[in-house]
């Protein structure tokens, strides 16, 4: 692995008086996929928001590309190359698909914007078909793809993704996960929260399990998949069952 692009140390954050993160550390490289998993309410989404500058950390540090960016504004982080795709409310519903992508290009120099949008549209056939459609009339799954595409338009060096496959059909999930592999191959790092844990860990280079706002376990994706403590806390027995006939992993 090259020098980690993202280094988070002992991060604490919460909402009003409610502490959610009570010390989470993580690092993510520019050439790897890191999965963050854990039970509902473990603090996974808050962790991403605290790194992305949407929730202000109360203590701990976030370094990106070697610089301390703890508590930096989200738009500054986007310009530095740290993209964030939230779980919900991730598109502008009254804008068309094409306009949504243009918004993603605003972080770039004016002369680069057109090419950046064109390059991403090339990768997602759906976007080409529905360029003129208002994003608000798209289905939940289609919006996810628009949100991912918009983040890619900004030419990030690392993407933070909150449940990229939630609400997607099995086929669309395949498409998104294939896309994520392609993103990694282009040297863009990914830190993603995902409940489709078996799938996420199979794809990820490394994974972190959070519980009660803290690091519980960490390791390679393959190791975590068979770790009895992780199965007990989170994966359950069903995910240990063999995949459906003819299928890859689910």
């Amino acid at each position: 692995m090259s020098d980690p692009a993202l280094v988070v140390r002992d991060l604490h954050a919460g909402y009003d008086e409610v502490p959610v993160l009570r010390g989470v550390s993580l690092h993510g490289g520019a050439d790897e996929i890191v999965a963050v998993i854990g039970p509902n309410g473990a603090g996974k989404s808050t962790f991403l928001k605290a790194v992305a500058g949407i929730v202000r950390p109360t203590s701990g540090s976030v370094a990106f590309g070697g610089d301390d960016v703890t508590g930096a504004r989200p738009d500054r982080l986007t310009r530095r190359g740290l993209g964030f795709v939230p779980q919900l409310d991730n598109v502008f519903p009254t804008l068309t698909v094409a306009e949504n992508l243009d918004v993603g290009a605003q972080a770039l120099a004016r002369r680069d914007r057109h090419d950046a949008v064109a390059a991403v549209v090339e990768q997602f056939p759906l976007l080409r078909e529905r360029r003129r459609q208002r994003a608000g009339t798209l289905s939940g799954g289609q919006r996810k793809l628009v949100a991912l595409a918009r983040a890619l338009v900004g030419r990030p060096s690392l993407l933070l993704l909150d449940e990229p496959s939630a609400g997607l059909s099995p086929r669309a999930t395949d498409m998104v996960f294939d896309e994520l592999e392609g993103v990694r191959e282009r040297g863009i790092g990914i830190v993603m929260v995902e409940q489709n844990a078996r799938r996420a860990l199979s794809l990820a280079d490394r994974g972190y399990v959070l519980d009660m706002g803290r690091n519980a376990h960490a390791g390679t994706g393959a190791d975590l998949l068979v770790d009895p403590r992780v199965i007990e806390l989170y994966l359950g027995s069903m995910t240990a069952a063999p995949p459906p006939p003819g299928g890859t992993s689910r």
Partner: protein, 255 residues
């Protein structure tokens, strides 16, 4: 078994886009029917038509023999149909426990007459409701948060609260919109078991939009597949998973 819900020839267009196009489906009494299909197939819009949030342009929808497609949502609820949403909707300034308690049917204390004349009955019912609410919160692993404002819950936890609320209301027909999305894998197994138990023990019926194939294949008696606003086919889980059209449009390599 007889048809509890029957939708015939339902269509709905938004600004010229045909979201639902002449779709028909039946939910048998005491059954679990799964509604699957690619993103944008019209599943949520059909749900909205059935639950009264959207008025269909054409079609006829009956619940237990009574026509419901021209009724507002609250009257459809009264007729025995309840639903959850893809994005959970809780009363955020109310505690988690109260959110669930509020969903219970039959609150004798709601009326002034009840408070004055039936104090013992009111108290008994309130206690019953509270116990049941705690039980449901244990099921969805939110018991430790019973006293917290529901606004402090995470996205996944709010979905679980929504599920606890609908199970508390326990209408005859429960529509679930992607109940498993965003829910931790170990918990999915427990929720699946509980849904099966409710069907067997209390004869409740379910219509479920879900992409989690484990849930669809293990829970449902019948699967209805939608594509581009139309019903592509309906059948048993095995028939559906082996249908070439379904593999092509929806399952991909997962059949």
């Amino acid at each position: 078994m007889s048809a509890l819900l029957e939708a015939r020839g339902v269509s709905k267009a938004f600004a010229g886009v045909r979201a639902v196009d002449d779709a028909s489906l039946t939910v048998e009494s005491g059954s679990i029917t799964a509604l699957i299909g690619p993103n944008g197939a019209g599943k949520s819009t059909l749900f909205n038509c059935i639950s009264g949030f959207v008025r269909p342009d054409h079609g006829h929808i009956e619940l237990a023999g009574r026509r419901i497609d021209r009724r507002p949502p609250h009257r459809i609820v009264r007729a025995g149909l309840g639903r959850t949403f893809q994005t959970a909707r809780a009363l955020t300034r109310m505690t988690v426990l109260d959110n669930v308690r509020l969903a219970a049917p039959e609150h004798p204390g709601e009326q002034l007459w009840g408070i004055v004349a039936r104090r013992a009955a009111v108290r008994r019912r309130e206690q019953e409701v509270t116990e049941q609410a705690h039980e449901l919160l244990r099921l969805v692993r939110l018991d430790a948060h019973a006293g917290a404002l529901s606004g402090t819950l995470s996205g996944g936890q709010r979905k679980l609260l929504d599920l606890a609320r609908i199970l508390m209301a326990a209408p005859r027909l429960i529509l679930l919109d992607e109940p498993m999305a965003g829910v931790a894998p170990a918990l999915r197994e427990e929720l699946l078991a509980h849904v099966l138990e409710l069907r067997a023990g209390r004869g409740l019926s379910f219509l479920v939009v879900e992409h989690d194939l484990g849930f669809v294949m293990q829970a449902s008696d019948r699967v209805v597949v939608m594509n581009e606003g139309r019903v592509l086919m309906g059948g048993t889980p095995d028939e559906v998973r082996n249908d070439d059209r379904v593999i092509d449009a929806y399952l991909g390599t997962h059949a």
